[in-house]
Amino acid sequence: MPQPKLIAQAEASGARLPPLLVAATRVASTVAQGVHGRRRVGVGDTFWQYRPFVEGDAQTRIDWRRSARSDRLYVRDMEWEAAQTVCLWRDASPSMAWRSGKTLPEKRERAELLALALAALLFRAGEQVRAIGLPRTFSGRGGLASLAAALPLSSEGLPEPRRVPAHSQAVLFGDFLAPLSEIRACLEAFGALPVRLHLVQVLDPAEMSLPYEGRVRFIGLEQEGEALIPRVSGVRAEYASALDAQLTGLRSLCAAAGFSLSLHRTDHSPETALLALFMALDAGARRR
């Protein structure tokens, strides 16, 4: 039986689903106009190319009209429109539920928005979407609401690559501020599977620039303890270098594993991030 707290959380997040869905579809529709087809040969309806007939092709595939125009035999290739599966994960740990100012969304909200907007785009393109760790596959028009309801409300740490079908793509949304060793372990787990992984790091601008002054006691959100900084302005440079080290480490890990990484600040617009992500997904799909 699900715990009452989770039910309450589920109801709370369900209550915000419609606005989230609306926002997601809006963002998706802003981006969707620039998407092209799969650009590869495969099963589909759209004409792709005429290629010469070689021994081994099925004879039923010969396009007689084109062949009649010339001496050779041609086979008509259609563009590949087979649905591919994309697995999504978004970080729902407590450290994501934070924002530095009232005008910014929480990091988790922005991650969810990006995830659902991506899912909306994928549904529109006919793909299938799964959530990492859940068996169900969502597709089609009602799939967005079901996916939004199925996303787990809280999670700990980094995902494990369970129930990720082979030859699919996976997108992870989170802030990835965990120790680099943990992230490396996770990426290695994903790298063992034939899965293309994309990471989207959502950070708050205050986390990147530490705009506080004076004597501040910082309190962690995941019971990590407290730190009393006597003068924040003196620490700022050092913090920036520490954060830079973390980001560089992450980038090198992804580059070594061949995964793509993009950084998104919550004060930037989600549409640009989504477009970049979609292009990365497309590139990942094509590179097979």
């Binding site: 450290s95 994501m96 934070w98 990091k107 802030d175 501020l177 965990a178 120790p179 708050d204 986390e207 506080y212 002054e213 004076g214 004597r215 501040v216 006691r217 910082f218 309190i219 962690g220 959100l221 995941e222 990590e224 303890g225 730190a227 009393l228 900084i229 006597p230 003068r231 003196g234 620490v235 050092e238 913090y239 520490a242 954060l243 973390q246």
Partner: protein, 890 residues
């Protein structure tokens, strides 16, 4: 500025230390939740100089600390002049005579501030009061000021004068030093010696009050009480208030007295009906609590009411029975004439019945009155003895006795000395003779009386002249001679006056004492003018001594004598007031200016508290916690304010519907240009509108002033037009009114003159003719109670306004096109004045001839008018129904 504990100011030296401490302590950190904790935690080991508190916050805290230190050191502002002059102990010389009573608190405050000064300069103080005392005056020996404070606090003014000679003697016994003299400004006989003694001591400071010394004395006359105020001259005129009080302190009357600039005397007259006058126990000056401002009243100031029964021929001068009685009683009693019923209607001391029989209903009434405690004085006469003998102290023998005269051997008799009784002590004059008298059966009680009457006066041969018997709670006194000079010349003598006066006093319950008996003091005034038990040392006085004594410690002012016979002994009768000159060479000071000490400590501490509060708010802000704190404060503080505001919202705003008169129904009145008439119309119509709103289902708004020809009349169902003597017709005016009447309006024309040919408003009849020159007035007939207007709401048969009796005219024929409603109603009863009320709903004008019913009928007529205007001939239709029903029944 002076400090009570200057040693505390040393703590100010600690302020730099506080500054250093506050500066070294870092401020409380701001709390911030942050997800990238791991990265921050890794940065911790590095040491940093902490952030500092901003300098202005430091300054605020230091200022608060400094204010607290200074405030706790007890600063005071003011506190009297500087150093005391001279060397040696200070003599505090206080006048404690009766003139110091009114501003005694200021004097005490000045004495206390002088003691403060002496204490601060550690001088010893000697204390001397100048009020007269039985024992010789002695100053308290010089001692530290703190020891004298309880004695000074216990000082009180004395209700008699000052004894400056004894004070001068006491001063010479003291060592040399400065003197502070709190003077009352009243001169005494030994002022020169006193001044010399004070000057010989050292530098003198004289403090004088700002109020003049006053004495109140009262003389009684038949017309009323006259109060005389004697005062020391002042530069500015003053108005004092004299209040007459009863024995238990209730004020019955007051009269203002104006003391002009530089005047020393003023008078005021207080006239009261005798019942109230006899209740007065004292007269006092308001707001001047002192023995000199109180004048106690005794029997001499009272006038008892005496009723004299009138009889035919009684007023004939020199021959009538009434004449001598009245002359004898009038100086000290109030005489009323009338018959039994009128006289007994008001409380009466004595009922005098000169030569009249009291029988029948009159007799019963008088009998009942006497039983309840009344006093009846009767005189004998030729008719007495023949009639019934009720209401006589003794059974009378038939006939009378003649003494002297042509047919008698005896001579007219003289009076014997009075036996003990009410007349005891009166000197018998040899001139009084009695030539004829009625005789009584000695020792035989009258029928219905418990015991025989007493003889109060008798002739030389022992026959009674005046007998009296108690009857119930009262007494009946009979003079066995007539009240005029027929039977004796007693009424012609002064003895008659005294005898009647004794009877009046006896009737008032006042037992007259022998003149030679000493009167002990019963109650005495204290220095503040309050009656209380006499002080020890007060001695008894005889009545003659009272007249000549001067109030002093052995004879305090107050009431002397036994309960029945109180004599008042007042300061005002026996002391004079003259202003005293200042002691030569003294520094003069005002009493009030010297003594105000303002403690600043609490103010400084409050300011420090405010600063600390501001510091709290600022710190919260710096820590980022200000918003929730302010939210909580606002919630706690502003909810009651908002609640009170919403409740206090005014219910009724100004009536703005005059802007658009179609929004509500208004009665209208024609603006005549005469401000009085217009205001009466307005208040009358608004009074009528309120009455209509209260009593009917119609809802009328406030009346609207209109100028026909200028304003649109079509909104108003009824137009009230009061005619003034200056009314004139104008074409636009007349055509507007015609238009209005033609389209169904009703004009009520009021000439306001009343029924008697318009006598109350002259000239309005002619003005009406002028003003209605072009009006289409139809044929008129008088309004009867058969008309619909008399039945529109109430059934009326008369239509009064402020006046009554004038005919009201309405249209004669029924005009079906106007719904049988009369477009014009003309009357002269001034209805607006009858309807007029002020804001509290009270009527403004009295109705003539008056009576509550007239105003009610005026309002009812107004309601009928309004209903007639609003509903037309609706009641005219219904009126037939009862008649039909009646006919069916027959």
């Amino acid at each position: 500025m002076m400090f009570a504990t200057p040693a505390l100011l040393l703590a100010l030296l600690l302020l730099p230390l506080l500054w250093w401490l506050l500066r070294a302590t870092p401020p409380a950190p701001r709390l911030q939740r942050f997800p990238a904790m791991r990265l921050l935690a890794a940065l911790r080991p590095r040491e940093e100089t902490p952030a500092r508190t901003p300098w202005w916050l430091l300054a605020l805290r230091l200022a608060a600390a400094a204010l607290i230190i200074v405030g706790l050191a007890g600063p005071t502002l003011g506190g009297g002049g500087g150093k005391l002059p001279g060397r040696g102990p200070l003599l505090l010389l206080i006048d404690t005579g009766f003139a110091a009573g009114p501003d005694w608190p200021a004097r005490l405050a000045a004495a206390n501030s002088l003691l403060d000064q002496a204490e601060r300069q550690s001088r010893e103080v000697a204390l001397l009061t100048t009020g007269a005392a039985i024992l010789p005056l002695r100053a308290a020996a010089p001692q530290p000021a703190a020891l004298l404070r309880p004695r000074v606090a216990a000082l009180a003014p004395l209700p008699w004068g000052t004894d400056r000679r004894a004070a001068a003697a006491a001063i010479t016994l003291l060592p040399v030093g400065p003197t502070a003299y709190i003077a009352d400004g009243v001169a005494g006989p030994d002022d020169a010696a006193f001044a010399k003694a004070v000057q010989a001591r050292g530098p003198v400071t004289e403090l004088r009050g700002t109020l003049p010394a006053r004495i109140l004395s009262v003389t009684a006359s038949p017309a009323g009480l006259t109060a005389h105020v004697a005062a020391t001259p002042e530069r500015a005129p003053r108005t004092e208030q004299i209040i007459g009080e009863t024995g238990d302190g209730h004020a019955l009357a007051s009269a203002p007295v104006l003391l002009g600039a530089g005047a020393t005397q003023a008078e005021a007259r207080m006239s009261l009906p005798s019942e109230l006058r006899n209740q007065l126990a004292s007269l006092r000056l308001a707001k001047a609590p002192g023995a000199g401002s109180v004048f106690l009243l005794d029997e001499a100031a009272r006038r008892r009411p005496v009723g004299v029964l009138i009889a035919s021929g009684a007023e004939t001068p020199l021959l009538g029975a009434d004449f001598y009685v009245e002359r004898a009683l009038s100086p000290y009693a109030e005489i009323r004439h009338g018959d039994v019923a009128t006289l007994l209607a008001r409380p009466l001391s004595i009922l005098v019945a000169p030569d009249r029989t009291l029988s029948g209903e009159d007799g019963d009434r008088v009998d009942a009155w006497v039983r309840q405690g009344g006093y009846l004085v009767r005189f004998a006469g030729p008719d007495m003895g023949a009639e019934t003998q009720d209401l006589l102290p003794e059974k009378l023998l038939e006939g009378d006795r003649q003494l002297g005269g042509a047919l008698s051997w005896s001579q007219p008799q003289h009076l014997a000395p009075f036996p003990s009784g009410p007349f005891a002590g009166l000197a018998v004059s040899d001139e009084v003779t009695v030539s004829r008298q009625v005789l009584a059966e000695p020792g035989v009680a009258q029928s219905g009386f418990e015991k025989a009457g007493q003889t109060w006066a008798k002739l030389r041969d022992g026959t009674p002249l005046v007998t009296a018997a108690s009857h119930g709670a009262g007494e009946i006194v009979l003079f066995h001679v007539t009240a005029n000079a027929d039977w004796s010349n007693l009424p012609l003598s002064g003895l008659f006056v005294d005898m009647l006066r004794r009877i009046v006093q006896r009737a008032a319950g006042v037992a007259v004492a022998d003149d030679g008996r000493p009167l002990p003091p019963a109650q005495s005034l204290d220095g503040f003018g309050v009656l209380g038990p006499p002080p020890p040392g007060a001695m008894a006085l005889t009545a003659t001594d009272l007249a000549g004594a001067v109030p002093g410690p052995t004879h305090p002012p107050g009431l002397y004598g036994l309960a029945q016979d109180r004599h008042a002994f007042n300061i005002g009768d026996h002391m004079k007031l003259s202003p005293a000159a200042a002691i030569p060479g003294a520094t003069l000071q005002e009493l009030n200016g010297a003594s105000v000490i303002v403690p600043l400590g609490p103010a400084l501490l409050a300011l420090a508290l405010l600063l600390l509060g501001a510091d709290l708010l600022l710190t919260l802000r710096l820590r980022g916690l200000l918003r929730p704190a302010i939210a909580a404060l606002l919630l706690a503080g502003f909810i009651p304010v908002a609640h009170a505001q919403s409740q206090g919202q005014s219910q009724s705003g100004p009536d703005a519907s005059h802007e658009s008169p179609a929004l509500a129904t208004h009665l209208a009145y024609v603006v005549t240009g005469d401000a009085t008439v217009d205001s009466v119309s307005k208040s009358g119509l608004s009074g009528l509108s309120d009455y209509v709103n209260d009593h009917t289902a119609a809802v009328l708004a406030s009346p609207a002033p209109v100028v026909p020809g200028h304003d649109d009349l079509s909104f108003y169902p009824l137009l009230y037009w009061p005619i003034t003597a200056a009314a004139a017709a104008a074409p636009a005016f007349t055509s507007a009114l015609n238009d209005y009447m033609r389209h169904g309006g009703i004009v009520l024309i009021d000439t306001r003159g009343g029924g008697a040919d318009g006598a109350f408003a002259p000239g309005t009849d002619a003005a009406l003719k002028r003003a209605s020159a072009g009006l289409d007035v139809p044929t008129l007939s008088p309004l009867t109670n058969a008309h619909v207007l008399a039945r529109a709401f109430y059934l009326l048969s008369e239509f009064p306004g402020r006046y009554e009796g004038a005919t009201v005219w309405v249209q004669q024929d029924q005009d079906r096109s106007n719904d049988s409603v009369s477009p014009v109603i003309i009357g002269a009863n001034d209805w607006a004045a009858a309807w007029a009320t002020d804001e509290d709903g009270r009527p403004l004008f009295a109705t003539i001839p008056g009576g509550p019913r007239q105003r009610l009928l005026a309002y009812r007529f107004g309601v009928n008018l309004v209903m007639y205007a609003l509903t037309g001939n609706y009641k005219g239709d219904q009126v037939h129904v009862p008649a039909i029903l009646q006919r069916l029944g027959q």
